[in-house]
Symmetry: C2
Subunit: 281 residues, 2 copies
């Protein structure tokens, strides 16, 4: 492993490079970001050693860590001119459309569809942290479609980063992520909006906010440049999850409206089993 090229020098791309440089200092990192300030920051923070629009032909791995809607075209272009020993992998939060776009590409075997389950509400290279990916899940889709030899390059770095590999198909991935990740972001953004709307009457309302609100609304700080494209790329599954969520909220509202507090209690009690599930991890 000698050379890695990272496209998109933000939170994920930056954290990946910072972590790997500690473990494999011999690797040269090149990279590129359409935001020139981010690219300059990535250079000065030591995320990349050299800024380059195109990966060298002897690059081992090209990592695409850009917003979800830019990936289909970036990935296609990368495969079009990829070196014979180069693997390209992406870090996108949606997988179905991407896998389908490149399914007939002659260099499909050079691609590994990936998704690290890691992040914070912050973005950009300055938010990157060397420990962000440590012991996190890395989902791989359609593993059987990637060349065995090239795939081993990805596994080498992912193992070095202590990441836990999980394999699933792209449709399953997108459906599950709509529920455990994309919906959380929407619920948090809309909670933020509802309280901001209320703030127009009550200027000091945030003084009353405790740690519970801060935790529940945290994801509303996330980057729209990353999240609006996810809504587009995973539209069908997100609409399903969001509709179920709205139905559940409406039923809960009906219980309160009808003074059915025993029903409210029983409902909450059932949901409490999430304690055991989350504490297992």
């Amino acid at each position: 492993m000698k050379k890695i090229h990272v496209v998109g020098l933000g939170l994920l791309g930056g954290s990946f490079a910072l972590a790997l440089k500690k473990i494999m200092p011999q690797i040269k990192f090149t990279g590129y970001d359409t935001n020139s300030q981010n690219q300059a920051d990535a250079l000065s923070l030591g995320i990349i050693d050299e800024a380059k629009t195109e990966a060298d032909l002897d690059t081992d791995i090209i990592v695409l860590a850009t917003p979800a809607d830019t990936l289909p075209s970036l990935l296609t272009k990368a495969l079009d001119k990829i070196g014979s020993q180069t693997l390209v992998m992406d870090f996108g939060s949606t997988k179905s459309n991407l896998c389908s776009v490149v399914s007939m590409h002659p260099k499909r075997a050079h691609y590994l569809a990936g998704h690290p389950i890691a992040g914070t509400e912050y973005s950009g290279p300055k938010a990157a942290k060397a420990d962000l990916l440590d012991r996190k899940v890395f989902i791989v889709c359609e593993m059987e479609k990637t060349d065995l030899h090239l795939k081993s390059k990805a596994y080498e770095v992912l193992e070095a980063l202590n990441m836990k590999l999980r394999f699933m198909d792209p449709e399953e991935h997108d459906s599950q992520l709509a529920f455990v990740s994309h919906l959380s972001h929407i619920s948090s953004f809309m909670l933020g909006k509802t309280v901001l709307d209320k703030m127009e009457d009550d200027k000091n309302i945030f003084d009353m906010a405790g740690s519970g609100f801060a935790s529940t609304v945290r994801l509303a700080k996330s980057s729209p440049a990353m999240w609006a494209p996810i809504m587009k790329e995973n539209k069908k599954n997100i609409l399903e999850a969001l509709s179920m969520y709205i139905v559940n909220l409406s039923k809960f509202r009906d219980r309160i409206l009808e003074d059915d507090y025993e029903g409210v209690f029983r409902e909450m009690e059932k949901i409490n089993k999430i304690r055991d599930i989350l504490d297992l991890e």
Copy 2:
């Protein structure tokens, strides 16, 4: 200050006693919990020095730290037989109904309506922590209705605990709390429910959950015995907040449905200003 009696030896009552015992070790704490296991735990954890159903007549402060729907009757009964130098204060999350129930009580001046903005998703005496209340906001309602001399007893202990006093009227309190606290709990519980429902198809869905989901769903671990009564006591304001939330979610869903991702982006960008507001604190 010689004696404090705590009714309800859970997270809040327990944390209050543990913290104050460190700062004012001369105070004797008596207390009571309808749950006999909690009461035994509170004794063995040193939250109270002696279990007592009724406060002694020379008690300085009686603290009511029980679920919101039990407070009107507990408060009325406490005032009925209160000692001449005793103040009673409560830690309830709703204030309007409670203040209105005791508004004509001959001993109204012995009562201070309070609400510490502090908590965790855990409950019971074992969840109590001496630093839970440290530097948190303590809301006082209808301060003018409490006897000046008795009120100073409360201020003495709240200041010793480093709590930040805020004064507001009960209606304003309940309306604001519906938005910044009660709604967060509902959004979190219903997020938990939506993912649990989905789990019936996808058993391993929680493997895919990252820190974002964990943070957003954290409040769904909260105690139904505390939270169902809040829905009842603050029905009107909670219905208003919840309805606004559902409308916001439905409008957001419509944008996705209509492929208006620019609208989605702009909406998220506006909500991002919550970053500045929350980081100010």
